[in-house]
Subunit: 239 residues, 2 copies
């Protein structure tokens, strides 16, 4: 692995943490550990910053295991997170059993269930922040899904505060491109696995991903400019 | 020509005029007549509405003739605008002579000169609105040029009011797609000509146009949703 990619990702996470004031000193942060490369890179990055005395926070990773999680996952995750010095909690959630009669399993519902459990655990155990592994490409995909399908200008925010609870969702990889995460994960030998359940249907998200690539021609600068434009809204020059 | 396209464009102009309160009763409107299909369709549409008693406004078209305007343009425009019952004023502006030494002619500079003369004429002659022929595809192209290159969320607004003068720029074709304009112009036998000067360089705009087509797959609904999303900005779900 080139040291430059580790350095680049580290710097972009520092910038996101600062720009959106994500973690106050001493906060208790729960990291959603899906088993994929994004959350692995996130967990490893935050753990490293803490070990180096650059992040003052209590860190715990939570893995929600469901009906579709491969049996091999537990051991692998345990080894990875132990190497990073991060406590890992595993919670079993039987998503199929939760389906109402007549309803088909789908990605949206499954991820909603897992998100709900993550938030519930954070609240019950006094965490003040839940860190998710969404990256810049995820943010742009959601932006264009919302613009193209819902006619709304919105996306995943870097920080989302709950109104009724002392809890927020933070996305420290907000400024990191997926290609950077892939390169770093490969360099680190992170053996991430994506969801392979039989109900997997990311086709709409994949279509939008292709469209964003066509819009930007895959240019990093173009992607960063799209994201940055959301912070420079000139209302006088909009309908 | 199918009557449906004339009906569709008419309705979209009515909707834009109402939505953004473009023309107050009795206003004096100066229509920029470039010689292209967009301003021709605009002028004809407004003239028709006025003739049918559906638009209470004084209408005049202004054509800025420059060094590159083909000699045949004057006669053609005169015939078209007379047929629509619209007074047409022609102003000669020698854009080449205005170039500072060492500067090369380009589209941006030329159109800025013509715009300046249009605004100046409107002010000197007591017009309260200048109507331009920009359409929905122009609006989206400018949006993405600004997002991708300037990292700013902005585009041509439907109405732009001058702070120091009782004058506004309006774009009644804001909700009309270019394909609709092309179909209507062909159906009406409008012989519009686009700029063919040797300095013509719309390459950047053309590239962005192709990217917008790739993003929307040419879908009218997707384009309309993109535009509509600019009116539904959910600040809580933005960085």
């Amino acid at each position: 692995m080139h040291k430059s990619i580790a350095h680049a990702v580290d710097g972009l996470v520092v910038k996101a943490l600062k720009t959106w004031d994500m973690i106050a000193p001493g906060e208790r942060v729960l990291i959603g550990a899906s088993g994929g490369k994004d959350s692995a890179v996130l967990a490893r990055d935050l753990a490293l910053k803490k070990a180096q005395g650059r992040l003052d926070a209590e860190l715990t990773a939570l893995h929600i295991r469901n009906d579709f999680t491969p049996a091999s996952m537990a051991e692998r995750l345990a080894a990875e997170y132990e190497a990073w010095g991060l406590p890992l909690v595993t919670l079993d959630v039987a998503v199929v059993a939760r389906l109402k009669p007549g309803r088909r399993m789908n990605c949206y519902w499954c991820s909603t269930q897992r998100r709900t459990e993550l938030i519930r655990y954070a609240m019950e155990h006094g965490y003040t922040a839940v860190a998710l592994g969404h990256h810049l490409d995820d943010v742009l995909e959601t932006l264009f899904m919302n613009m193209l399908r819902k006619a709304e200008l919105s996306t995943m925010p870097p920080v989302l505060r709950y109104r009724k609870y002392p809890l927020k969702i933070i996305r420290p990889l907000y400024l990191v491109e997926e290609r950077q995460i892939v390169e770093l994960a490969e360099g680190l030998g992170i053996l991430a696995s994506t969801c392979t359940c039989a109900y997997n249907d990311h086709s709409e998200r994949d279509r939008v991903r292709d469209r964003v690539e066509a819009l930007t021609k895959g240019s990093s600068q173009a992607k960063r400019n799209l994201l940055e434009s959301l912070r420079h809204i000139n209302a006088e020059y909009l309908p």
